[in-house]
């Protein structure tokens, strides 16, 4: 696969369930060979998007291509090159973990590499002889993860795959993702664990209420948000309040704390150095802040709705 062929191309995707508009014109582009983070609050439409990409749901409108094919019409062909780990893994009660791993591998159209399978079972510390009903949530996820990582596929689609894993297993998981990228695999990683996304992903898409609100590399996205600056100056600061892009300015004597839109940082630093800088800390925005901004919009909307509701009553 070449860079010219994106692994996933989705534009203007719509999907409704009854009156719920789960996807309202969602866009998603995943380049071949990248690890792409897929973020959004609960109910934003992440799993719905993934299930459309897997051909389990039929989109109402919009275009979707996966590995260059149509997800609904070419489902079986596409699935030969995909491994999927659902967010909520349910297993057959009376099949052992090992049986399920082998079955899922074969259903992808080829046998698993036995050495790799054994190695993954060892790394994830999974007991493959236990029956499905006796596994904990984390162990059920390990079963699906081993089956996915042991498969020779082009694209891994992982829907919140680590929600039940302990920190040690989380480490193992991150190493497996990096190995997959090193071998040229593409990964779509839907996750709530922002540190994980920051650690692993080349690019991220943030969705909210079925629409993509941010998409790009982490560096690009950081550019769009505010940097916190704390400085101790030699003399009184002047003119900071007039500068564009400065927020939450707090001046106490010679101490200054402020937030600034990252693309306006330069002017602020110049203004500070005019007063003589004794110490300076500048914190780049975290993904969490980026993400919370969209959460907070949701919360604000919810508050407004609640207030309207109260008035109506």
């Amino acid at each position: 696969m070449t860079k010219a062929n994106p692994a996933i191309e989705v534009s203007g995707l719509h999907k409704s369930f009854g009156r719920t508009h789960a996807l309202a014109g969602l866009d998603l582009n995943v380049e071949a060979g990248e690890v792409h983070g897929f973020l959004g609050p609960n109910g934003a439409g992440k799993s719905t998007t993934i299930r459309v990409l897997l051909g389990l749901l039929r989109a109402d409108a919009g275009a979707a291509r996966i590995l260059g094919r149509a997800p609904w019409a070419d489902a079986v062909e596409v699935h030969r090159r995909i491994a999927y780990v659902p967010g909520d893994v349910t297993l057959w009660r009376n099949l052992s973990g090992g049986e399920v791993i082998d079955l899922l591998g074969r259903l992808r159209g080829g046998s698993l590499d036995a050495r790799r399978r054994a190695e993954l079972i060892e790394r994830f510390e999974l007991d493959p002889t236990k029956k499905g009903r006796t596994y904990s949530k984390g162990n059920r996820q390990k079963v699906a993860l081993v089956a996915a990582f042991a498969s020779d596929v082009d694209l891994l689609i992982l829907d919140e795959p680590t929600s039940g894993l302990d920190p040690l297993m989380e480490e193992v998981f991150q190493r497996c993702i990096r190995e997959a990228r090193d071998r040229g695999r593409t990964v779509l990683l839907s996750s709530h664990i922002l540190s994980e996304v920051e650690e692993l992903c080349d690019r991220v898409s943030i969705i909210r209420k079925g629409v993509t609100v941010e998409s790009g590399s982490l560096a690009d996205l950081r550019h769009l948000t505010r940097t916190s600056v704390t400085a101790e100056l030699a003399g009184p600061p002047g003119g900071l309040a007039r500068l564009p892009g400065v927020h939450d300015l707090d001046i106490q004597g010679h101490r200054v704390r402020l937030q600034v839109d990252t693309d306006k940082l330069d002017a602020v630093l110049r203004s500070l150095s005019e007063s003589g800088v004794r110490s300076l800390t500048s914190t780049p925005p975290t993904l969490e802040e980026l993400f919370l901004r969209h959460y907070q919009e949701d919360l604000a909307d919810a508050d407004a709705d609640a207030r309207e509701g109260a008035v109506a009553r």
Binding site: A75, N94, E99, L104
Partner: protein, 542 residues
């Protein structure tokens, strides 16, 4: 001072040994919750069982109108071991006593099935699904769940007992009360037995199967006992709770003390269940789950479907073969008896067909198994629904497996399996009857056309309206009702024709008619095809 501390310590130690104090906290809340969850299922069970009992006096009156005819029936019964095995001995020739004779075993069995389903649903099912943990983390005592499950069954059985006692009071109040209590007694014996079995197995499906197996054994023991003795005095009859019900002799100088057997058995089994429950952890069981292979040989979605359903196919196969052997073996003896009674002969002819009574009996029994096979096919087809809604279908469909291929695996087990169990029933009938293997096998296989129509309807519902897929059970239930009770109630042919089974030729004995059989097969094919189109086109639900 010292003394009081000591007793306090002793109390704590006792509390720790017996699983903590306030063990019944929350029982009331859980009971109300259970009754709310079962607000549809329990009334249906109670109503169907009750109506079956209450409709019997009239139906018997039309068959055996005069006292002389009833006395005749009673003498015949004491000499015919086949019919005694099928139904039980007659103790008196009043309408009440004949009602208790005719439906006692079956009403008791229905109460038993209802009770075991309720208890396992609220105990092992809850633990297996993990919901029990959520409940147990609240202000809920250690014994509250089991207690509320047993109380739910007790409420249902008590209502059934009242319904029977009130409805049959016209035949004699004492007999009606004894009969109602007896049916409820059978129910509670199997409720407490289910409570014991639920402690043993980790899977609710297995717990249901094992308890139902005990019920089947109780039926067989009673039948064997009644075949050998004509007044229920055989040891084998006394071993079976269904035998106790008959030996209670409702409407025939009731033996009230037999009710103590039900009470005693329920108390002992209940105590065992509580004792076992107190000795294990939530979610664990006494029969441990064995580890499985570390690597598997399942290669295809079809192999997975077979693996998931093979246990059920095995169970149904054994049941159908044995039923065939038993009923086949009874055929000649029953015909001897029915030949003497004009009304009963009419019934058998309406149910089954020709004047050859043995054939008519075989035809009606084979038809009954055909109706029951409709239940099998619905349960097998709805496995697709279960796999889909539980999320287990998703990883399979995310593999290189087309939806039709995935569905085909389960449908092959459902449709092939129903033909297979009818074939085994036929072999059983032929073995028990000892002759006519060709006509009997043919009669059994003809039923498959009707079974497949019901299966096709289930596929259509599942494919086109997955939310309503469960309605396929209602369809199978309606067909069962029409086929089972319709002829006895002299329902018009138009009603009987609503069921696909109403169109089948009456075999053995009648002539083979290909046209209706082929049309039914055609209908089945269309229904399945329609359902599969739906499966291909719709969203996978989650």
């Amino acid at each position: 001072m010292t003394t009081s501390t000591d007793t306090g310590g002793a109390r704590t130690a006792f509390a720790a040994r017996s699983g903590g104090s306030r063990q019944l906290d929350g029982t009331g809340t859980l009971l109300r919750f259970a009754l709310r969850r079962d607000r549809v299922m329990l009334p249906i069970w109670v109503a169907v069982t009750g109506l079956m009992v209450l409709s019997m006096p009239n139906s018997l009156k039309s068959l055996y109108g005069t006292a002389a005819e009833r006395a005749d029936l009673m003498t015949q019964m004491t000499t015919n071991s086949s019919l005694r095995a099928l139904i039980g001995p007659v103790f008196d020739d009043s309408l009440g006593a004949l009602t208790a004779w005719r439906v006692g075993v079956y009403a008791g069995a229905l109460a038993a099935v209802m009770s075991l389903l309720v208890v396992i649903r609220h105990t092992r099912d809850e633990e297996e699904s993990g919901r029990q943990e959520l409940v147990a983390s609240g202000m809920v005592g250690r014994r509250a769940s089991l207690t509320s499950a047993l109380l739910t069954a007790a409420v249902a059985n008590a209502v059934l007992a009242l319904l029977v006692a009130a409805g049959l009071a016209g035949q004699g109040a004492a007999g009606a009360l004894a009969f109602g209590l007896g049916i409820a007694g059978v129910g509670m014996v199997f409720a407490t037995m289910a409570a014991v079995v639920a402690q043993l197995t980790e899977s609710a499906r297995l717990a249901r199967g094992l308890t139902a197996g005990v019920l089947g054994a109780a039926f067989v023991l009673r039948a064997a006992g009644d075949a050998s003795e004509n007044e229920g005095s055989s040891f084998l009859t006394w071993v079976s709770p269904l035998g106790w019900l008959e030996n209670e002799r409702s409407f025939a100088d009731e033996r009230w003390w037999v009710l103590l057997l039900f009470v005693g058995a329920a108390l002992v089994q209940g105590a065992v269940a509580y004792e076992l429950a107190g000795r294990r952890d939530v979610g664990m069981s006494f029969l441990p789950t064995r580890p499985g292979p570390a690597s598997g040989r399942l290669r295809t979605a079809g192999a997975l479907a077979w693996r998931l359903q093979r246990g059920s196919v095995l169970g149904w196969s054994i049941g159908f073969f044995l039923a065939g052997v038993v009923y086949g073996g009874l055929a000649d003896g029953v015909a001897d008896f029915v030949g003497d009674n004009e009304g009963a002969r009419e019934i058998f002819e309406r149910m089954g067909g020709s004047s050859a009574l043995t054939n008519a009996f075989l035809a009606s029994m084979i038809g009954m198994l055909g109706l029951i096979a409709a239940l099998y096919i619905v349960s097998a087809v709805l496995r697709l629904h279960g796999e889909e809604t539980s999320g287990r279908a998703e990883p399979v469909l995310a593999g290189a497996v087309g939806r039709l291929r995935w569905a085909a695996g389960h449908l092959a087990v459902a449709f092939g399996g129903s033909a297979w169990i009818m074939l085994l029933a036929g072999l059983g009938f032929a073995a028990g009857h000892g002759k006519d293997i060709g006509p009997i096998l043919g009669a059994c296989l003809v039923q498959v056309a009707g079974v497949w129509v019901i299966g096709g309807a289930a596929v259509l519902l599942y494919g086109v309206a997955p939310r309503a897929a469960i309605a396929a059970w209602g369809l199978a239930g309606a067909v069962l009702l029409i086929g089972w009770i319709g002829p006895a109630l002299k329902a018009p042919q138009a009603v009987l024709n609503l069921s696909p089974f109403g169109h089948l030729p009456k075999l053995p004995g009648g002539g083979m008619e290909w046209a209706p059989v082929l049309s039914l097969l055609g209908v089945a094919v269309v229904l399945v095809a329609g359902g599969l189109v739906g499966v291909r086109r719709r969203d996978v639900t989650s």
